[in-house]
């Protein structure tokens, strides 16, 4: 288990301000945040590149602050691969074994099984510069894994790749995590990536951890407007809430939304656009929220369509192109919106 307590460090442009975080062995933690949030510096401080001003990092209960990077046994993979350009792929992967004076026979054996796992056996004699982005990243992952690190730190490992390669490598990372069981800390700015890979998630901004928890929990229950905005909820309403029977009744400009989360006073209420069901006729269901409104805008985002409907307040529902055509939706058309009280998340201002 890695436990970080109240870590402070200031490198001018980037800083950490009291970061506390704990990661269980075998966890796949996703660290999300906008540019400049301090995500990379957190990884590099864990790896021992920077010495924190205060705070502590414990692994297995022992502080590692006085241990130099080379003895921490923490692997690092960067977005831009950072393969040594003057060494062949083979020598890049062998680098850590040589530094640790592993004898050649044992090294060859380890490399053989790892490169087979990562499908890069055919690249061993090439120079890194001649490889594609995806291939380079596989090699970089192999180079980090060969020394069997306790923790693998991944700094936006998929950001420099095209969509297709990104998807493949994402699956690859999941598989590696399943097979090796290595604890992974993976920095990204893509919410989708976090959702697809991790089991836990930490959201950072301005050098602080804003929210931390199970992925789906953060997704469904953002604890502040920043996180809600960040995870992509576009329906964020500000209103006054009253609690009755354990439900919140939130008045927003004359419209009332019901939420399953009790919270009184000034609140933000969020509904994910995909949670809103559109229909041509009223739907009879147990859903607490049902509104009638006119389509005010259709935002065509290619494969998904966002429909803005004015029901006193403007709400956005996400539907597929297929549904758009089937329901013959056009601006001005009257539609019914339905969503459950449990789909409405509420947090205090």
């Amino acid at each position: 288990m890695i436990s970080i307590t109240d870590l402070h460090i200031n490198l001018g442009e980037f800083a950490l301000r009291g970061v506390s975080l704990s990661v269980e062995d075998g966890d796949y933690l996703m660290v999300l945040g906008p540019t400049g949030a301090g995500k990379t510096i957190l990884l590099e401080t864990l790896a021992g590149i920077y010495t924190p001003k205060s705070g502590n990092i414990l692994i297995g209960g022992k502080s590692i602050l006085n241990i130099p990077p080379r003895k921490r046994n923490i692997g690092m993979v960067y977005q831009d691969y950072m393969l040594f350009p003057h060494l062949s792929v083979d020598k890049n992967i062998r680098f850590g074994l040589k530094a640790n004076k592993v004898d050649k026979e044992k090294a060859d054996e380890k490399i053989k099984s790892l490169v087979e796992l990562l499908n890069i056996s055919h690249l061993m004699h090439r120079r890194p510069g001649t490889l594609s982005g995806g291939e380079q990243q596989r090699v970089a992952i192999a180079r980090a894994l060969i020394v069997e690190p306790r923790v693998l730190l991944l700094d936006e490992p998929l950001s420099a790749l095209d969509a297709k390669t990104r998807a493949t490598l994402r699956e690859e990372l999941r598989r590696i995590h399943d097979i090796t069981g290595t604890t992974m800390i993976h920095v990204t700015h893509s919410f989708d990536e976090a959702f697809l890979l991790g089991n836990r998630m930490a959201i950072m901004d301005h050098g602080e951890i804003i929210q931390e928890g199970e992925i789906s929990e953060v997704f469904r229950k953002p604890n502040c407007k920043f996180v809600a905005d960040f995870v992509g909820t576009t329906n964020i309403f500000y209103g006054e809430s009253l609690v009755r029977n354990g439900l919140s009744f939130i008045k927003i400009d004359g419209t009332e939304i019901v939420s399953g989360i009790p919270a009184e006073g000034h609140v933000y209420a969020t509904v994910r656009p995909e949670a809103i069901l559109l229909s041509l006729h009223p739907i009879e269901s147990s859903a607490r929220n049902a509104f009638k409104g006119k389509v005010s805008r259709i935002l065509d985002e290619g494969s998904i369509i966002k429909v803005e409907i004015n029901a006193g307040i403007p709400m956005i529902a996400a539907i597929t192109r297929r549904s758009l055509e089937d329901m013959e939706i056009f601006p001005g058309k009257e539609l019914f919106m339905t969503f459950k009280a449990t789909d409405v998340h509420v947090f205090k201002v």
Binding site: A47, M76, H86, A144
Partner: protein, 270 residues
């Protein structure tokens, strides 16, 4: 068709003028080089090139410039690395001081070296130990080193700055000490910079005049490098020998410059 050409000409007047200036200056430089090389007859040039004085000067120039270049490399590499990588208080002041020899006229540098190694207790102590710089070939090496190491240093510093420190971070997480990382990652990656810097330093060393004149003096067949030979022979009117020395230096410059540009050498100097 003619109309089209006229329009293009009017539109590119600016291009013609600016390019014209470049070509004119190129022509002036080329003329100058050709004038020097062809100033004497080929026979006289060959004769002079074979004279004991020129042979001595060539040998001395090559020896001193090679030694000073090696010294520059040895000293500049750790310096450049430290200044490129580590933050510390007073760094910008140290940086300005290390750049000084670049801005200092070589003659002034020469006077300074003469004073430090000729009339301070430190210099006299060295001389007593047999390490003499004043009016000796060793002084030439010293002068070349002092005047040219900033070139090496600056080229290497910008080379190291151009290497992403994350390469080194990765190396360190893989089990290497900082020193081992330097030898196995940083230095191999800086190879091109070292070669480019060495060429520039060597080429400038072989042409060094002002500082060497002050420290080592101009003694025929003793501290007579190629530039000193030009100076001595121009003073006493032996034009043929001066031209021979100048021709050799031109050939060396052309070859160095060509090699440097072939290597794709671009290095921030200022």
């Amino acid at each position: 068709m003619l109309n089209k050409l006229l329009i293009q000409l009017r539109e590119s007047k600016f291009k013609l003028i600016t390019l014209g200036v470049a070509f004119l200056l190129g022509a002036l430089i080329l003329t100058l080089l050709v004038c020097v090389v062809t100033h004497t007859s080929p026979e006289a040039l060959l004769d002079s090139l074979g004279s004991p004085e020129i042979l001595f000067a060539v040998r001395l120039s090559l020896t001193t410039s090679l030694i000073s270049t090696v010294l520059c490399i040895i000293i500049a590499i750790p310096m450049a690395y430290a200044m490129a990588r580590y933050p510390f208080r007073g760094k910008s002041i140290l940086n300005t001081i290390l750049d000084m020899p670049l801005a200092l006229p070589p003659l002034v540098a020469g006077v300074g070296l003469l004073i430090v190694f000729g009339s301070t207790a430190f210099g006299k102590g060295l001389a007593d130990m047999g390490i003499k710089f004043i009016f000796t070939p060793a002084g030439i090496v010293l002068a070349q080193f002092f005047v040219n190491f900033p070139f090496m240093y600056r080229i290497l510093k910008s080379t190291f700055e151009g290497i992403n420190p994350r390469y080194e971070h990765v190396s360190r997480t893989l089990g290497c000490t900082e020193a081992r990382t330097f030898w196995r990652v940083s230095l191999p990656m800086a190879k091109n910079g070292v070669v480019a810097g060495a060429i520039i330093t060597w080429c400038r060393g072989i042409g060094e005049f002002g500082a060497a004149l002050m420290v080592a003096g101009a003694t025929r067949m003793r501290t007579e490098t190629l530039p000193i030979s030009i100076y001595l022979n121009m003073s006493c009117g032996d034009l043929d020998l001066a031209i021979a020395a100048a021709t050799i230096l031109i050939v060396i410059s052309v070859i160095s410059l060509y090699t440097f540009e072939k290597l794709g050498g671009t290095a921030k100097l200022f």
